[in-house]
Each structure stands twice: as C-alpha cells, then as structure tokens.
C-alpha cells in the first residue's frame, strides 16, 4: 500500500485508491477502538467507521484540510466526534429501538432538527434522477469545487463556456424536477 506524505493531496489526486487504502489500513483498529470505548456492537462500529471516512473525504475535498500526514489519527478524531454525536442522538430519541439507517443519516447530516430536512431529501432524490452528466457536473462544480476548465477537460466539453452553459441548464432542470 502506498504511504503518501500528504494524504490530503493523495485523496484529491486519486480519491478511490486513497479511500480504499485508508479503509483497509484502519478498519480493524478503528472498529476495535470503538467497541473498546463504547457499548456499540460491531455493525454500529462499522457504520461509524464508514461515516468517518466520508467526513474525512469531504473535509479534504472542501479544502478544510490540506495537509494530512497522519491520516489514522485524524480519522480517529472524527470517529470520536461521531461516536459522541451517535450517543447524543440516541439520548434525544429516548428509546433504543432506533432505526440504524435513520441514525446513520442523522449522523452524516448533522443537525436533525433542520426544518428543511424533508425538502432537502426531495432535492436529493431529484439530483439522483438527474443522472449523468448533470449530476456529475453539479457535484464536480459545487461539491468538489472543480473549476469550469477542469470540468471541461474531465467531461470532454469543448471549453469552459460550454461547461458553464451546461451547468446552468442542469440547475434549471434540477429546479423543475424538485418543485
């Protein structure tokens, strides 16, 4: 397995391989650590591990983290916070029979009291139904913060102006789909 000096850069340059490496390298120790430090079962520990990886990924993609030498230590820090959130949500729910999928969505999405949750879920399904290339284009621009030039190159558009026009049309399609 490659051991890069800067994991953040590795994730940006080769996200699939980097995430796969992080997953394999830290899976056992992370799950063991969660189980030893909480009363979570294996499945919950695995969920928290997977969500933590996604959060790590987002923090890197969004540029919140640009230098990351010890990816394991950073992943465990995220995991600790997610574990605390997990307990807060369970405490709030006031019963243990909580659906793990609901819990996972809440942990991933943060504040569950957001009034717009239903609306955002509608938008999410609209984004999913956009399909390629609109979904990819919008995610590349608004989530991955790729420039129009980068998008044009990656998605084989003539130039950045074409990418810009396509992007606008995709947003308008999305507006129509969810409204």
């Amino acid at each position: 397995m490659k051991t890069p000096i800067n994991w953040a850069q590795y994730i940006v340059e080769n996200e699939n391989q980097a995430i796969s490496d992080i997953y394999s390298e830290h899976r056992s120790s992370f799950i063991g650590w969660v189980k030893n430090n909480s009363n979570c079962d294996e499945d919950t520990a695995l969920d928290i591990f997977q969500v933590s990886i996604v959060i790590l990924y987002e923090n890197v993609i969004k540029g919140k983290v640009t230098e990351l030498e010890n990816v394991g230590s950073y992943l465990f820090r995220i995991g600790k916070n997610k574990l605390l959130e997990h307990y807060r949500i369970i405490k709030k729910s006031q019963h243990q029979e909580i659906d793990e999928n609901v819990l996972l969505t809440k942990v991933l999405n943060g504040d569950s009291t957001n009034d717009n949750v239903e609306l955002i879920e509608k938008i999410m399904s609209a984004v999913a139904s956009l399909g390629h290339p609109c979904k990819t284009l919008l995610e590349n621009f608004y989530f991955k913060n790729m420039s129009l030039e980068e998008i044009a190159t990656e998605m084989n558009y003539k130039n950045s102006d074409t990418a810009k026009t396509k992007k606008f049309k995709c947003i308008q399609r999305l507006r129509k789909l969810y409204s």
Binding site: I19, S28, Q50, I120, I123, E139, F143, I171, Q172
Partner: protein
C-alpha cells in the same frame, strides 16, 4: 431582460460569491436590492445542500461497497468443503514429511529442523473448532494466515493483539512466526503463562517445534512427551517425532 437571462445572471453572481470572486457594480446592486435574487439565492442554497448530501450519499455507498472485499474472506474460511480441503492437505503434507524424514534418517543424518517446521505446521483454525473469522475485525489476520501469507498475517496479528489480547490470536501469531523461522519470538509467545493455560490449542506441540528450531531437541522431546492435553490428530505425529528426535 428575459426570465432565463435574469436567472443566468443570478446564477453567475451566486457562483462568484461562492468562489469569493469580486462583483461588478450592477451585480452588487442586485445582491443588495433585488428581492427576486434573494429568493433565487435561498432556493439555490437548498439545491446546493441537496447536491452536497447527494454526493456524500454516493460516496458513502462507495465506501460501504469496500466492505465486500472483507466479507468473502470470512465466508470462505468456515465452509465445510474448505475444512475438508485443509485436512486433505494436512494428510498429504504429513505423508510427504514422513517419507522425507525416513530417507533422511536412513542416510544417517539427523532431523532437518527447517523441514520439520515447514511441513508440520498447518492451519489450525479447524482443529480447535473455533470460528475465529466470524468477527470481521479478525478477517485480515486469519485471512492472511489461511492463505499462508505469514508475513502479512504477523503484521495483522500484531494489530489485532493491540486491540484484543485473546490467547487464540497469540497462538496463531506464534504459529505464523514459526512459519517464517522466527523461533525465539514464537517461543516468547508460546511460553506466555496465559497461553500455557489456554487449553483449546496444542501450545506445547508448537513450542516443541520452536525448540527444534532453536536447536534444543531435548526440550522438544520433553514437551512432546508430556502433552498438556491430547490432540488425537497430532498424537501419531507427536510420537513419531519423539522417536526421530531420540535417535
């Protein structure tokens, strides 16, 4: 201005704001005074959040799919057909080992310690009856072990033992060390008091093998002569090894 042109202008302004780019005078005015722009911006913020969560959901699905790499390894190890294969392999290796030993002894030479170690050690997950790979956290270590990739098995057992000091893991760590001829390190583990009291695996049999590895056949004979618990599958081997070593 046509509706579409207006929306395109709004979108350009929003994109500039997101990327911290400077705005023209006209754009500044729109941001400050145009109520339609504010409505569009509020709507876009929701769209943007939906795009973000959709991207995260996709990524989470990809991350979850990585788990599939781990499941087949644990599923295969416990299949009865695999167990039968292991026992068959064990039998063949044992017969070959005996034949080789027989020819070596008849030549007048003594036991071949490397040969003894290499050919008498077999995966033991089946013999002790445990299903160690049921728990996914152990899959790496036992997966490599059963694939006879002992160098990686040792690395994974080291990690596993940091989390879980289960004597069974210690035992398989020691057996893996024997496979790569790290006899003294294996002995350190096998002589551990907790492992000595662990009756589910033939600790002393492997400790004896490690003693052969460190040129201590007398100690090996002693260990083989006094098995702490009987292991029928090893009993014949044990007795034959005593005979060979005694010569």
């Amino acid at each position: 201005m046509k509706e579409e042109q207006k929306l395109e202008l709004y979108q350009n302004i929003i994109d500039k704001l997101l990327n911290n780019e400077s705005l023209s005078e006209l754009e500044m005015q729109i941001v400050k005074n145009d109520t339609d722009f504010q409505t569009y911006k509020d709507e876009f913020n929701l769209l943007n959040e939906g795009i973000r969560r959709s991207a995260l959901q996709t990524k989470l699905a990809e991350v979850k799919a990585l788990e599939n790499k781990f499941i087949p390894a644990s599923a295969n190890v416990n299949k009865p057909s695999n167990r039968r294969k292991w026992f068959a392999a064990f039998g063949i290796i044992f017969l070959v080992a005996l034949a080789y030993l027989y020819t070596q002894i008849n030549k007048g030479g003594s036991y071949d310690k490397d040969f003894l170690l290499a050919d008498n050690l077999v995966p033991f997950t089946d013999i002790d009856g445990t299903r160690s790979t049921d728990k996914e956290s152990k899959v790496d270590a036992y997966g490599f072990y059963n694939k006879r990739d002992y160098k990686n098995a040792i690395i994974e057992f080291e990690k596993l033992l940091k989390i879980d000091q289960n004597p069974k893991h210690k035992f398989y760590m020691a057996v893996s060390l024997l496979f790569v001829n790290k006899f003294e390190e294996a002995q350190d583990i096998l002589e551990d008091k907790e492992l000595q009291n662990y009756k589910k695996v033939p600790v002393n049999y492997y400790l004896a093998l490690s003693k052969i590895g460190t040129d201590d056949p007398k100690e090996a004979i002693q260990l083989l002569s006094n098995p702490t618990i009987p292991y029928p599958i090893l009993d014949k081997k044990r007795k034959k090894m005593i005979r060979i070593l005694s010569r």
